[in-house]
Symmetry: C2
Subunit: 405 residues, 2 copies
Amino acid sequence: MADPLSRAAAEAADAADPLAPFRSRFVADEAGVLYLDGNSLGRLPVATRDRLAAVTAEWGERLVGGWPDWIDAPVTAGDAIATVIGARPGEVLACDSTTVNLHKLVGAALEARRPQVLVVDRDEFPTDRYVLEGYAQRDRLPLRSNAGEPQLERGDLAVLSHVNYRTGALRDLAALQARADAAGATMIWDLSHSAGAVPVDLHAAGAELAVGCTYKYLNAGPGAPGYLYVREDLQDGLRSPIQGWFGQAEQFAMERGYTPHAGIRRFLAGTPPILGLAAVEEGARLTAEAGIDRLRAKAGALTERMIALHDAWLVPLGFGLATPRDAAARGSHVAITHPQAWQITRALIERAGVVPDFRGPDAIRLGVAPLYTRHVDVHDALQRLRDLVALGAHRKLDPTPGRVT
Amino acid sequence: MADPLSRAAAEAADAADPLAPFRSRFVADEAGVLYLDGNSLGRLPVATRDRLAAVTAEWGERLVGGWPDWIDAPVTAGDAIATVIGARPGEVLACDSTTVNLHKLVGAALEARRPQVLVVDRDEFPTDRYVLEGYAQRDRLPLRSNAGEPQLERGDLAVLSHVNYRTGALRDLAALQARADAAGATMIWDLSHSAGAVPVDLHAAGAELAVGCTYKYLNAGPGAPGYLYVREDLQDGLRSPIQGWFGQAEQFAMERGYTPHAGIRRFLAGTPPILGLAAVEEGARLTAEAGIDRLRAKAGALTERMIALHDAWLVPLGFGLATPRDAAARGSHVAITHPQAWQITRALIERAGVVPDFRGPDAIRLGVAPLYTRHVDVHDALQRLRDLVALGAHRKLDPTPGRVT
């Protein structure tokens, strides 16, 4: 049997991959670049490129007459997302940014449930911490910074990422939701690093509230709209703190005071971005077509290969693994640490044609997007990384971390 | 001399129009349609269509490597808007929706100035009223509904549209800002119906805060990002109530607590929508290229023709004028009223190839967008309107107003 770390083994895995045809559904980038940053910005689907051109043309031709077909886009795109996060139709809206959506749900939960303590992970994605910090300051509520497994108490309002943006660690959503329910705490899930990459079943878990991002594994493009989820039975008991005309019960009865729309639409605010929502819908559909279980299986195999290559090739060069070794306990990216992580990241991008990303102070994230990442990509990227660091090619670069996204 | 209401007179005015060449800078719509709703959704500029395709391709090719060029888009697009509203570079951000931006500025002013009363026009655009209603309820502040000229007192926080969305009435921004300053009140301007249509000089007026929309006269497309303006000297004393990672001082020093960025960027929240912002920049540049004074002069002539034709042809059919007769006191649309306004609007769109819009209970808005509306368009549209109503063609339609935008 061939060496499982050989390129031949990677080629064989690709040949057996039932998702391999999906790679051609994306626009090709510069030849030879190994893209391992789909966890930051996903690739452009061919269907999305065509749809964006079609919606642009529709604007030009139909003008304001296009609105009857556009006005439901946040719900239509939200329903497409619902299929990949285990939500029901009418429970998800695609709109605004993830930050603004989290601001809405935290504000709504504060008003309805009067929590006494806000809880966030110490290493939670910054925007989630910042939103809670803002509310804590405004309402003079304590903000508890949690490390490790969240300890939830009655009256807590917690925000937690399903997959940690830095380490890739995957939380047990159903178990933690059950613990929150038992404790009498409110949980808002951030699915940014899990939707489209790992199975999410909000309904089965009884999850109440969630937000997420579409430009990572859902491939909706730079700054595409985020989304929010509110369990159906809770919708009419919650109010968005941002009252806008798209959330109004009778939007075009313009002389009235504000009454929230029934159902999920009450969480809309201003006029929805039609181009961005078209991209969200296409991206979510492509993911649903591939099937989240197949995506998850392939991602597990890819990160398994990555960790094995890391152990064999990179540990001797001073690297460490920040991601759980148990495939069931991680998402779709692997974080490796190194004291010169910043310089290595730059050298990989500028000299080796490998695109990972850097997360300070010392982590390199290597993401696999099973819709388009191949086993040979993982193999070749780690080989280039190994050779570059072995040669010390990164040492000449400025060690001061710069602006990255 | 020819009859000033004749088609020949309209043709002569078009022949003498220095802005006539700008019409070809827009994508043509269905042949023969007379589009008088640029005040709701502007046309698609050719440059914007091409730019959207280019940015989409850039996403596909450069992937996450595009971010260093995209990350300043809210400021770049904001600076482009600044040139048409008399603001300085670094005073305007394009981001989020108009509603969300207003929510940010009202929240920031509430925290910094502790106003005692919120003030809004009774017939202000709904989303503006809804935002204030939300804050009034949250903070248990009185919300004073104003009718006519706003009476401002010390400690008031008022939101006012520069041009009323319904009647087209234009406020004297400089005079009202001076009155607000003298009274010790805070004014937030909504420029949605004025930016790109009438001269706005925020700097000369000493305006403190403003928001606006880009999909009307700035032609940035359905649901394109809105913008906000904060006078430079006030920026560092105000905080957005929505704290997100793009507003953080050191965005990529991710382990820190929230510290607002210096200057206008503190009003950013989540990841900015790159496609939408490209459209905003193109639209604002096209307006700047035409020149706001020339646009204003042409719009005045177009609405003057419209009102003259209304008086001659429509008053005998039961129409009334809701827009000021003084050209200096109106923006770029004319509202006419009729008891069957809804049915007439539908009949115009469905049977006469004229696209106005309806604003309940009884108004038809006829907008002129001087970048592309011709004098013959105004003439022909009012002629079709006259003939349609004279024939009673609208009477067979369902009188129940439906969903429109």
